[in-house]
Symmetry: C2
Subunit: 310 residues, 2 copies
């Protein structure tokens, strides 16, 4: 039997991720009441309609009153301000966590804004989709995905206990939890998430700006590979603008390496060094096999999307 871990959960910002946290927590039975604060009237209306929340408000301090767990699910540059709005309403022992894709600067902002009687445990569920808004959420978004927590460097029992309860919460939602240093998180995610988004946005932009090739041609012949990139290039623009501002150093570092490698590849093409091309193209297959073996990807060709082809 699942038991309630947090009698009251408050979710601040209820888009794809916030709404999925509520659905998954309700499905797992690990929360009692749920309060939502969202600045957007459209979002609030959608959340009321979904019927998952006991309280829906624009007032962050009202939502967090008496809450045992506060999940901040706004764009990363809005995390600090949201934590500041929550501060006055936090009860002693409340856990403040977040779902932001950047941890270093967000952790600093949450700590600076929160009172000492709350436990700040920054977090990041590595899951999502290209769709946005409360209606895009779903209960098993976190199933088999990883949640990274970047706890403070504190060994006191009450804080450790809070980390354990937050770990139990995410585990109940189907996720696997790992703790790491915020700086390392930001470098790892620059590789596995931020650079891929940057590259995808860039290639779609390059294709859109071509004069010799029409947009209609790009769309018609996109099954040659291009369409794979358009999925993540359709992600929420505000969220991603904030990520690149907040994780500038790690992103530029990884982008520098990517560009160096791309120049070497360009040179190999120019000089017809086909062995170099073949070597690279051969070793990249193993990574996909590893991702499938790690349960993070489907083994079906074309992501299985041809199954339902009309």
């Amino acid at each position: 039997m699942t038991t309630v871990i947090f009698p009251k959960m408050a979710v601040i910002g209820c888009g794809l991720i916030g709404s999925s946290v509520i659905r998954a927590a309700r499905a797992a039975g690990v929360v009692g009441t749920v309060a939502v604060a969202d600045a957007s009237p459209e979002h609030r209306q959608a959340i009321v309609k979904l019927g998952y929340a006991d309280l829906v408000t624009a007032d962050v301090a009202e939502a967090v009153t008496d809450a045992d767990l506060i999940v901040l699910a706004v764009p990363v540059l809005a995390m600090g301000p949201a934590a500041a709005e929550a501060a006055s309403g936090l009860k002693g022992g409340a856990i403040v966590t977040d779902v932001g894709s950047v941890k270093g600067s967000v952790a600093d902002a949450l700590l600076a804004a929160s009172p000492d009687h709350a436990f700040v445990i920054p977090g990041h569920p590595v899951a999502g989709s290209e769709q946005s808004g409360p209606d895009a959420g779903f209960a098993d978004l976190f199933n088999r995905r990883w949640v990274i927590l970047t706890p403070q460097d504190r060994t006191d029992t009450p804080y450790q206990d809070a980390v354990h309860r937050l770990t139990a919460f995410w585990t109940a939602l189907g996720a696997q939890v790992e703790c790491m240093d915020a700086g390392h998180h930001d470098l790892v995610l620059a590789v596995t998430s931020h650079l891929p988004h940057l590259i995808a946005y860039n290639i779609v932009g390059t294709a859109a700006d071509m004069e010799e090739v029409t947009q209609a041609e790009v769309m018609k012949y996109s099954a040659g590979g291009f369409r794979d990139f358009t999925r993540i290039a359709a992600s929420d623009p505000t969220m991603w603008r904030d990520v690149f501002v907040a994780n500038k150093d790690a992103v530029l570092e990884i982008l520098g390496r990517f560009t160096e490698d791309l120049q070497a590849l360009s040179r190999a093409i120019r000089w017809g060094e086909s062995d170099k091309l073949f070597d690279l193209f051969s070793r990249t297959r193993d990574i996909r096999r590893g991702i499938i073996a790690a349960g993070q990807e489907t083994a079906e060709p074309n992501f299985g999307r041809d199954r339902n082809k009309p």
Copy 2:
């Protein structure tokens, strides 16, 4: 009722695409007998086992004897040699086509190798998957996908009639057919297929070479976007090595534009020009909507791969 368009079809090279052409042509009932030539004993054994072909041989000239349609489905640098092997066996009026991702140099090679009594009509079905070999093929691979033909600049009736029959063939397999100039094809595909593959191979290589981030971390946290790139970076290395050698000029041209745009994006991140980032990230969404509207992509989040998540 479907009627036979080509009493005998010969497929030279029977991997993912060659095998899918046979399955689709059989399913549509547009071919009578089917002969296959493949240099690989393992492929030949697999094709015999699949039971789709009336003749399976290593000898290209034997396979094309009496054939009305010859489909060359080998890597692009092997197209010319395959056409040369076929030449002596070709009957008058036979259509020689191919499925290569590059058309300019392939068209030249096919024309140079083929006798005047055959009709050379280079082609490219813009469809595929990251998997390779005859067992990876499937009958509806071409359904709703585009096939580009790059016919010769000939207005004589026999040649035009051959183009019409080849168009009818692909249409019967579920595809949509468009004719264009070989040079334009190579530029369009450099954008929609070759550059995406190059970028995907490159980013997976960059991630694999990181020392500060382990391969295990790259795999675990790949759901943040990276995994999307690994699909096309798992494509056949020989096929893609040949594409970059054979379409060098167009690829380097498009790669140059991509790199320029990426440098501008890098600069915007370095200087915190968040409006520029937001503008790019907003306009890239439309392209995906267009691709979905054009029937070339699923509208489901995450390509629908979460449907079957264990």
